[in-house]
């Protein structure tokens, strides 16, 4: 989904739909404590745009979002996202091979919805603390989009 004019919230609110369209999956890197919700392979010119102390978006040169990454997931992110921690996400992570796709079975939609909410609140909380407005976040999102 390419970024639309001045709509950071729209982008975040549509994460689940973007994920479905882009066939994103969850992956967890045990050594780095990184959780990915992304394509298995992002395109070569894609870069990470870190929007909070824990959340980065994969943005390609045309402004499309190819996924996101949370770090440090177990050591930090889950501690202040209790609703997400209460789901089966940790069990599912532990079942998966390091770096391989995580299966949530019938809980996939629930995990994705809670995860999207957690990401939104994480980004907005850190932005607010740093006195960034929604307009500032729009500016940040558009900064590396090539015309």
């Amino acid at each position: 989904m390419a970024m639309k004019k001045n709509d950071f919230l729209n982008l975040i609110d549509n994460l689940s739909a973007t994920a479905k369209k882009g066939r994103w999956e969850f992956f967890y890197d045990k050594l780095a404590d990184s959780l990915y919700w992304s394509k298995k392979k992002v395109s070569s010119e894609t870069r990470l745009k870190k929007l909070s102390r824990e959340t980065s978006l994969y943005v390609n040169p045309s402004g499309a979002i190819e996924g996101l990454m949370i770090q440090y997931f177990r050591n930090n992110f889950l501690e202040h996202n209790e609703n997400l921690a209460k789901t089966s996400i940790l069990k599912s992570i532990d079942k998966a091979e390091n770096g391989e796709q995580i299966s949530f079975g019938s809980k996939k939609d629930e995990v994705e919805a809670l995860f999207s909410e957690s990401v939104k609140s994480d980004i907005l909380k850190d932005a607010l603390e740093a006195n960034y407005t929604l307009k500032d976040l729009d500016k940040v999102l558009r900064a590396s989009v090539r015309a």
């Binding site: 010119e45 870190k50 929007l51």
Partner: protein, 135 residues
């Protein structure tokens, strides 16, 4: 940087022994971190380790409560852009390493390239402590 059949070995500013990036971990990272691929990617990793802007430390205990691991993050800021209102965007590389006590060495866990990211988000001040600030 030199390599062995298993590892890429990097010099760094603060470690007397080489910092290892196992080839298995490196290869596993490329699909989601394509910027580290090839000679350029490896050279940039070494540049971040030799000339960091900031070094932080933290501990990690993801699986076994008693098995805390020491971690460090080397940040190399490449560009700082003013967007007005006292706000800045950064391009930077971050190399995260973890102490492997069994092998008596530090190993790279992951490498991130942040682009046009707000300055406030670069360091996770919730868990990282600044060890050296060369800015």
């Amino acid at each position: 940087m030199r390599e062995t059949p298993e590892d890429y070995l990097f010099q760094s500013l603060t470690h007397s022994r080489p910092v290892a990036f196992t080839k298995n971990n490196y290869a596993r990272h490329i699909p989601r971190h394509p910027y580290i691929a090839g000679k350029d990617g490896l050279a940039r990793i070494e540049e971040a380790l030799l000339n960091p802007s900031v070094i932080t430390r933290y501990t990690q205990s993801p699986h076994i409560p008693k098995a805390k691991r020491r971690c460090q993050a080397f940040y190399k800021i490449l560009k700082r852009r003013d967007i007005g209102g006292g706000k800045f965007l950064l391009d930077y590389w971050q190399v995260i390493m973890i102490e492997n006590k069994a092998h008596r060495r530090w190993e790279i866990a992951t490498v991130l390239a942040g682009e046009d990211s707000p300055e406030y988000a670069m360091i996770n001040t919730k868990i990282e402590t600044i060890l050296h600030d060369y800015r």
